[in-house]
């Protein structure tokens, strides 16, 4: 029960990584509110709160934070991806990706920081793609670099009251991962190639990311701030000539 007595807002908790974080936080004794652009999905664990909100809208983000009351933990997980290069990206693509991934994170942090309890923790979901470019994911990659930079600023400006860190997931088994493989000429070969590039020889599961989020949200992480915590099965430690490729 590492989060007993803590109240947490986890954005984008309907599915995938966000859902795993919601469930892990509840198991660890936290009070949890989550949100998304749609209605209450109806299958959230008992006791978990839901707010319908689009965090890219400053007013909705502010109302969402106010509805939560005094927070101990904010997890900015809500995010989208669009699989396009710069040249193919449209203005609506910009609004969507930058809106959700950048403005949304900024909006919730701006609203929450003044009212979070002392010793509060912000956990932003960045990505390995914020440091190395996934092909044809221009806006997404850039948006995650934004999240990493904002994470450091929040840590520097709002410590010691607030700690702020980012998790950089690698390739995690979610809808986003499947969509990425569908881009390839031979999706099955692309998957085999991808597995071979992971020293741990598997993709991640949402619960792998949730485990990191629990630690970062807990008092065990009191000295952790301003850093990126990469959970990727060793992939980014490896060169492209990883054994198993040739």
């Amino acid at each position: 029960m590492r989060l007993e007595g803590k109240r947490a807002l986890v954005t984008g908790g309907r599915q995938g990584i966000g859902r795993a974080i919601v469930e892990a936080f509840l198991r660890e004794g936290a009070e949890v509110v989550t949100c998304g652009r749609g209605g209450d999905p109806g299958d959230l664990p008992e006791g978990c709160g839901w707010v319908t909100a689009d965090v890219s809208d400053p007013a909705q983000a502010a109302e969402l934070v106010e509805a939560c009351g005094a927070l101990d933990v904010l997890v900015n997980n809500a995010g989208v991806q669009v699989e396009k290069t710069v040249v193919d990206s449209t203005d609506p693509d910009w609004e969507l990706v930058i809106g959700a991934n950048c403005r949304g994170v900024f909006n919730t942090c701006r609203a929450a920081i003044p009212v979070m309890r002392d010793g509060g923790a912000i956990v932003n979901i960045g990505s390995i793609s914020g440091q190395q470019a996934d092909p044809s994911m221009a806006l997404y990659n850039a948006s995650k670099a934004f999240v990493h930079g904002l994470t450091r600023s929040i840590a520097v400006d709002h410590g010691p009251k607030i700690r702020c860190n980012a998790i950089c997931p690698g390739w995690i088994n979610t809808g986003m991962l499947e969509a990425g493989f569908e881009l390839a000429g031979d999706p099955a070969a692309a998957r085999r190639d991808a597995i071979a590039r992971h020293p741990v020889r598997r993709f991640g599961e949402p619960k792998d990311i949730a485990a990191m989020a629990v630690w970062l949200a807990s008092d065990e992480a009191e000295f952790a701030s301003g850093q990126l915590f990469t959970i990727d099965g060793g992939m980014t430690a490896a060169s492209p000539l990883n054994p198993g490729m040739f």
Binding site: G159, P199, V200, M212, E222, F223, S225, F229, A237, G244
Partner: protein
């Protein structure tokens, strides 16, 4: 509690400032713990606790292989190896003798190589059981940015960071994860010695003033404790970290997140 239940762990530097906090925490979490160090007393008063002390010089291959043979006989496996043994010499390269340079590498880098190399067979035994075996090396925030007068130390920590990645890539498929923890300023005898030695940049300040100046430059307005490091090492040793490998884990109170400047 019990997050390391059923695991066998060896902690080099296990009687040092940080090492003993790791051993104590590992015991609380249910691990069988070997505290490996040059001397039982280490750098502080003798600790309480159930860690088995084993004398080892990590720079001496015979000493390392004898230690691993003993663990093999007593436990038949090793789940967690923490390479916390390290020394720090406060000198520029000009002031550092070749002997001192070599000694720094012998303990900090070669020690990590020797213990890891000779632990692999025992860790493979653990991995055969489906366990996610875990090696945690000690890098440092000094592997990223240079504190004054710590030339050999900074170099050894950069080496540990690169070795960590190589080990993670080579041994990941065997079920062995490898990470490096990179502490910032942690309240240990090593840090207090840095305050009192020539490398402190003293300028006539008292120790108390130096300590406060160091706290003030941290976004979290404190330096860390050995328990803070033990908290992250415990997480990395646990099954929750099964997907975490090949990374450098900086724990520094926000120190390296900022462009350095005085608040005037």
């Amino acid at each position: 509690m019990g997050r390391l239940a059923g695991k066998v762990a060896l902690v080099t530097g296990g009687r040092g400032g940080i090492g003993r906090a790791i051993c104590a925490r590992f015991e609380t979490e249910g691990a069988v713990v070997y505290a490996a160090d040059l001397s039982e007393a280490g750098s502080l008063a003798a600790p309480d606790g159930a860690s088995r002390f084993v004398r080892v010089d990590v720079s001496d291959e015979d000493s390392v292989t004898a230690t691993m043979a003993m663990v093999a006989e007593e436990q038949g496996r090793l789940d967690v190896l923490v390479n916390a043994a390290g020394i720090e010499i406060e000198k520029t390269i000009e002031e550092t003798s070749l002997g001192e340079w070599n000694r720094s590498f012998a303990v900090n880098v070669t020690g990590t190589f020797l213990t890891s190399k000779h632990a692999l067979p025992l860790m493979r035994k653990a991995a055969e059981d489906g366990v996610s075996a875990s090696i945690i090396n000690f890098g440092s925030y000094d592997g990223f940015i240079a504190d004054p007068g710590l030339a050999a130390y900074c170099a050894t920590k950069g080496a540990v960071h690169a070795l960590t990645r190589a080990m993670a890539c080579d041994h990941g498929p065997e079920g062995i994860r490898v990470n490096a923890i990179c502490p910032g300023y942690i309240d240990t005898p090593m840090l207090q010695s840095f305050f009192t030695g020539d490398g402190s940049g003293g300028g006539g300040k008292s120790i108390g003033e130096l300590q406060q100046a160091v706290r003030d430059v941290h976004p979290l307005r404190t330096y860390g404790t050995p328990e803070d490091i033990a908290n992250l090492v415990t997480w990395l040793a646990s099954d929750e970290a099964r997907y975490a490998s090949g990374q450098l884990w900086v724990l520094d109170g926000g120190l390296s997140a900022q462009v350095q400047q005085m608040r005037i």
